[in-house]
């Protein structure tokens, strides 16, 4: 039989996990990468149009031809840089999404894992979920402060370190 406190904790963790899932999903869809791709595509299309107009204008001056060539070259270069920027942004969002995933997995473990309150997820279980050094640094920093303040943890017998988190 669960105590009220334990049932409350499970409900709160379930709600937090669901909210974080919503936030995680927004990271991917709200990244603005689409706009960058569209910009690069428009630049490519403009270059095609400039070249086509030049082809249909045989009397164009050498100066105009030179300017068109420079514009086409510049547009290609900027298009590549925009795609590169979008790629870097997508990778950062992927990292953010996976960092959020770790917290979701831990919260689900707290909400639905076996065992009584306080034994379902240990700091070591949590650490096994990390995907980035940033997370590990935060973990070390937080535990360092807690232990310096005299906190002691009795190792739990839970924890399979399964990163997908079905049974933490």
């Amino acid at each position: 039989m669960q105590s009220n406190a334990e049932a409350n904790e499970r409900v709160v963790c379930t709600i937090l996990a669901a909210q974080l899932v919503g936030l995680r999903d927004r990271i991917d869809t709200g990244s603005g990468v689409d706009v960058l791709w569209q910009t690069a595509d428009v630049l490519t299309e403009l270059s095609v149009v400039v070249l086509e107009l030049l082809r249909r204008c045989p009397g164009a001056s050498p100066e105009l031809k030179e300017r068109c060539a420079a514009v086409v070259k510049g547009a290609a270069e900027i298009g590549r840089k925009i795609d590169g920027m979008a790629c870097l942004g997508a990778q950062r969002h992927d990292l953010d999404r996976q960092m959020a995933d770790c917290v979701v997995t831990a919260l689900k473990g707290l909400a639905a894992g076996p065992g009584p309150m306080g034994t379902r997820v240990s700091p070591a279980d949590l650490a096994a979920l990390y995907v980035s050094d940033d997370q590990r640094k935060i973990h070390e920093s937080v535990t360092g402060v807690l232990f310096a303040n005299g906190l002691q943890i009795v190792p739990s017998d839970t924890g399979t370190h399964d990163r997908k988190g079905a049974a933490l």
Binding site: W37, C87, L88, Q91, H93, D94, L95, Q98, V131, R136
Partner: protein, 123 residues
């Protein structure tokens, strides 16, 4: 034109990597996880380099690399891991499984292209 097989479960990642690689003159094929990647390879796809994420549903990057190394057609194909994972242990596991290179997200596209160039056979 060298062909790169890109494996990532994020559609945004797949698209953004494809655009960078195509801009650099590579042909690109994509897969959304390891299982999907193996299916593509089984159809006779012969990529010059494989670029794979690690954390993917159904079949992760490590299992994919192990399986690809057991297959004659991809036994010696360079495989680059592009992942958010930064732990040394995971890197060692990937190396032991047969990965040829490792890049941690976020990686500058120039760095990715440089790594690809190093792994592609000289013409």
């Amino acid at each position: 034109m060298p062909m790169i097989l890109v494996l990532d479960d994020s559609a945004t990642m797949v698209m953004s990597l494809s655009r960078v690689l195509k801009n650099a003159g590579y042909e690109v094929e994509t897969a959304s996880n390891g299982k999907d990647g193996l299916t593509k390879l089984a159809t006779g796809l012969k990529p010059s380099v494989i670029l794979t994420d690690l954390n993917m549903p159904q079949m992760d990057g490590l299992a994919f690399i192990k399986e690809a190394r057991r297959t004659a057609a991809t036994r010696f194909t360079p495989i680059i891991v592009l992942t958010t994972e930064s732990s040394g242990q995971k890197r060692d596991e990937a190396r032991a499984a047969g990965a040829s290179g490792w890049l941690t997200k976020p990686t500058e596209p120039e760095e990715l292209l440089k790594t690809l160039k190093q792994l592609l056979p000289a013409k």
